[in-house]
Symmetry: D2
Subunit: 135 residues, 4 copies
Amino acid sequence: MASVTMSMLEAYPKSINLDRAKLAAVVDTLNSCAQACTACADACLSEDMVAELAKCVRSNLDCADVCTTTARVLSRHTGYDANVTRSLLEACATTCRSCGDECARHADRHEHCRICADACRECERACRDLLATIS
Amino acid sequence: MASVTMSMLEAYPKSINLDRAKLAAVVDTLNSCAQACTACADACLSEDMVAELAKCVRSNLDCADVCTTTARVLSRHTGYDANVTRSLLEACATTCRSCGDECARHADRHEHCRICADACRECERACRDLLATIS
Amino acid sequence: MASVTMSMLEAYPKSINLDRAKLAAVVDTLNSCAQACTACADACLSEDMVAELAKCVRSNLDCADVCTTTARVLSRHTGYDANVTRSLLEACATTCRSCGDECARHADRHEHCRICADACRECERACRDLLATIS
Amino acid sequence: MASVTMSMLEAYPKSINLDRAKLAAVVDTLNSCAQACTACADACLSEDMVAELAKCVRSNLDCADVCTTTARVLSRHTGYDANVTRSLLEACATTCRSCGDECARHADRHEHCRICADACRECERACRDLLATIS
């Protein structure tokens, strides 16, 4: 089923310098990762061992903010500056890598960290794939 | 297919005072509406008649911000204050109503406004439905 | 010294239905409260007794998101819908009250909670004062 | 007068790898730039010649989002990943440069663009200065 992201891109009135289906998939992946990270931060705060998860909460909060901002910037098109898109995708891939690594350390004890680590890995890949088509 | 929102709620380690499936659906609807509004603002900026759409751009930007924030607050659970949730859901329903009305005025000329108006209507309904189970 | 908020409001090309100096002060107060809450959440995560502060972290994160969104919506003017502004200011005042109450419970042990509680009280007042001039 | 950012950093319970006064100044500069950009986007939407300012609105919205996210990430400390901070500061400097260039093109006709261009220049400098102390 097409996401609203794809429907909106199909309705876009001007040309876009990127493949619309690919772009929609990246934006959806970014939004899913942001949601996973926001939820994982809160789930970590509910664990009895929260003191050991403080770094994970921080990584989650950073990653949620960066993914949300990257999805927004990728949703603005005409006249865009490729330097902005590229540097932000690089920052987002770096942030997803860092958060994915941290969540992966707790993945065997906490299902929410396992799911979130997967979301971060997928999002890092999506950012790097899109970067490859821009550079 | 289950969204990451639902998977994360199922992995939540503590009890939640709301029905998890319903809550996941509302959060997904909020995130979709935010995405539609961000994209509609940008599509409006690409229309030749942008001067007539300035109010629509503003409504879209407000609605995107309010929906994103509401989704985040609904994704934080234990120890939550029902007054915060309730007042924010009311503000979000009001914002979606206002943005949906504005987009609907341009729906027959701009497909992106038509899609966005639908997303706002659905989101307003979702917020009011959830409100009814809290109050 | 005038903030950039006030300078930008003075440069606004159309009329605004609210007193510009008062509006600038509220926006600055909202942004300061958002910053205090973001910082307090992180300071709480650094405390050895973080497990007792989990609710405070959540309140801080909610309040930061709501204040940032409210400041953004108040920074968009012409053609605005008073219902949106009003309901969001009410939600923001409610959120600041809730976060201020939670921070106040830890204010004698944690200086960051004391400062943040003050920021939330001031922000709640600013929202209610502005509400009084709109309703 | 000390900002709430500096007061909160002074109350931080653990060590921070950066100079606190410098860090507070950068965070305040980021938040001011975000506010200038949000306000400039809206002022542009109120200009009769908005069609010529569509790219400026987009740059403003991108810059507001990136500066807000960068300020939040810089407000989270212990256990931080320098790669995340560094790549995000680089993306933020690039975004401020792009937005400052665009606003500067309209600075002689629109006072709000002149003020916003200055805010972007100052923010770009602040990001690059902080980067120089991290790398």
